[in-house]
Symmetry: C2
Subunit: 391 residues, 2 copies
């Protein structure tokens, strides 16, 4: 399982003291520098580790990623940038590679500097602990308000033989990834050239981690990283690429589903679909507006088949469509046709609001474009967690 | 107080049985048809009364507005449009005016047809009850999840003499008006030509009702209506206009503040300001994203001076700005400078999060444009109200 499932990777986690207790620093390292790809948050306020990892990735080859929980190293100015660079340099010293071959990631409180003495000591301990079975503890160490670790491994059959993809992620709040996600780490032992690795990562993230929302709040620290050790078969030709991409999409969707199911306070998840839009961008805009609507999310919490709120949210998405041509389904229950109520059985619709996941579907009569997202309900738990947790 | 404060207006409310109990139908009528202006929701899904009122307003002169709570007459198809027209026609019959001189407004559950027998009977009773003291009961009759009626009257000194502006409104949830508001009714006895009335209404709404948000969910039924009886002095020239507009802005701001203070589940309100933006549209976009961020709203609920969330929300507003040039204040406490934490007293910042209203201020270094909004906290109460109320 996790990021050490593919050959050629080791991982470790330590309790470095950045958080008051528990594992809080994870290290994932390939046996040698390999190809890498990453996508980062589109938030204008980019955390220091995002800035530094983007710089290092430009070097083309990556040996390791070091990640901490408990402190986001965001909104920390030039000092924070130095800290992020020092994190990479410390790991590079102990791993005997170049600092540019180390990516860094942080998650936790915004606006607070990292305790660098603890970070440096933690990194040294982590390097000493690196093991091929360390993936599980690494997945533990990056949790913040997560209630459970998120990890997966999938096999992929290539022309030249088998390979694997492993992944771990964290994320429960400040989740509305756009072109990236909270922190997600993918590894593979397939030998993949960097441009192909990036293409696969972008395709997979677009079909998974960019399709989840817990609260609409895109983080300053979002980062999805993909490392290849090249220890197994090579991805060669479009057929191999398709198999590889499909396996990565499966892994990324599983990770995305784990994140949304562990969304802060979530008691229920829904899949929101929009069909019949003029363009994919318009379908995306409507899907996102419905998926992030507080009124839709509270109706989901109450199990109330309140399709009027779905229609109202779609209508405010900033997309020009004909409201008299909108159909709405809750599960398999067709509740609204041509923008108005159908005769449906309220009890059956209410039951559809308790399915797992709840399926909310909006069909326009504008074209053939479609989109989808996963979202959570909005519960007391979300309020409790966020009224007092300092993120 | 309320819409009957200006001369030449009468109002009434009745319990027509649209809601299980209580006042649910309001009528505001001028003694004769006068000038009128209105702004309507920008939601693509426009309720039947919005469609019909827009048609009737095009006629140029308005005698009365009939409004009901308990049923939004939204997503009701052609039948709902007929019902809205019949509401206007019923009031016109009893008032002895043309149906086109009556505007209609509805608020309540979406996707349900009006019980027209009760509506017709209620309108007849309301016409019989019309009185110059009926403003207070009319303000009561349009409430849904509102916990208190919202009404005000202000005086305005014109060159030719005094005049008054009265107003009533409802709204507690599905509040994020854009170019309109839930239901707001303004009256004046000043004699004002229709184009000037509309200009004043648009300016006032842009500086008040369009600057509040409870949940980001723009309604299908938003409508702000302004009726002039012409029973008092005439608005003549730019100096009169300015006095008139300022009085209307004061009334509209007071009404907007009442709505946001009565926001569903609200225990606290905040004024969010953005300064130093390149354009007003960019300032608006950042203000709205911060004001609607669930993480900012839960921090507000917890009284947590969590400025990192303010910065993160600003950063995801889709506006290109330099995050290293952002300053943030909570009340008078300067908490972040140049995108990073300042040394500030946490206890003083926490106290600023308990002021009324809480003042959140973001300053960019991009230009001179600014914007502001009022928002509520996100509490258990919001979840309770909306998990089960069918809106």
């Amino acid at each position: 399982m996790s990021v050490t499932a593919p050959r050629g990777f080791r991982a470790a986690a330590v309790a470095s003291g950045i958080k008051p207790s528990g594992l809080d620093l994870a290290l994932v390292a390939a046996d040698g520098a390999g190809t890498a790809a990453a996508v980062f948050t589109t938030n204008r306020a980019q955390a220091a580790p995002v800035v530094v990892s983007r710089e290092h990735l430009a070097g083309g080859r990556v040996r390791a990623v070091v990640a901490n929980a408990g402190c986001a190293n965001a909104a920390t100015g030039d000092g924070g940038l130095s800290d992020a660079r020092e994190m990479a340099a410390a790991a590079a010293r102990d791993l005997r590679c170049r600092p540019e071959e180390v990516l860094v990631a942080s998650t936790g409180v915004i606006g607070v500097r990292l305790p660098m003495d603890r970070v440096r000591a933690g990194i040294s301990q982590a390097v000493a602990r690196l093991s091929p079975g360390g993936g599980a503890e690494a997945a533990q160490a990056i949790m913040t308000t997560d209630t459970r670790p998120k990890e997966i491994a999938v096999d992929v059959a290539l022309a030249a033989g088998g390979a694997r993809i492993g992944a771990m992620a964290k994320g429960a709040g400040m989740i509305a990834p756009r072109m990236a996600t909270m922190l997600a780490f993918f590894t593979t032992d397939a030998a993949v050239e960097a441009p192909l690795l990036e293409r696969a990562l972008r395709e997979a993230v677009g079909a998974s981690l960019n399709r989840i929302t817990v609260d609409g709040d895109t983080s300053t620290n979002d980062m999805a990283v993909f490392l290849s050790s090249g220890a197994a078969a090579r991805v060669d030709g479009e057929r191999d690429y398709a198999a590889f991409r499909d396996a990565l999409v499966a892994a990324a969707r599983a990770i995305a589903e784990m994140i949304v199911r562990d969304g802060e306070g979530a008691t229920r998840i829904a899949e929101v679909r929009v069909e019949g839009a003029s363009t994919e961008a318009e379908a995306d805009a409507i899907v996102r507006t419905v998926a992030e609507s507080p009124l839709v999310k509270t109706a989901l919490h109450g199990g109330d088949p309140n399709w009027g709120r779905i229609l109202a949210a779609a209508g405010r998405a900033g997309v020009p469509f004909d409201a008299a041509g909108v159909d709405v389904w809750i599960g398999d229950v067709w509740v609204a046709e041509g923008g108005a109520a159908r005769a449906y059985d309220e009890a059956v619709a209410a039951a559809a609001m308790r399915e797992d996941p709840v399926r909310l579907r909006v069909r326009l009569r504008g074209g053939t474009a479609s989109s989808w997202m996963w979202t959570t309900d909005l519960s007391h738990g979300y309020v409790d967690i966020n009224a007092h947790y300092r993120s």
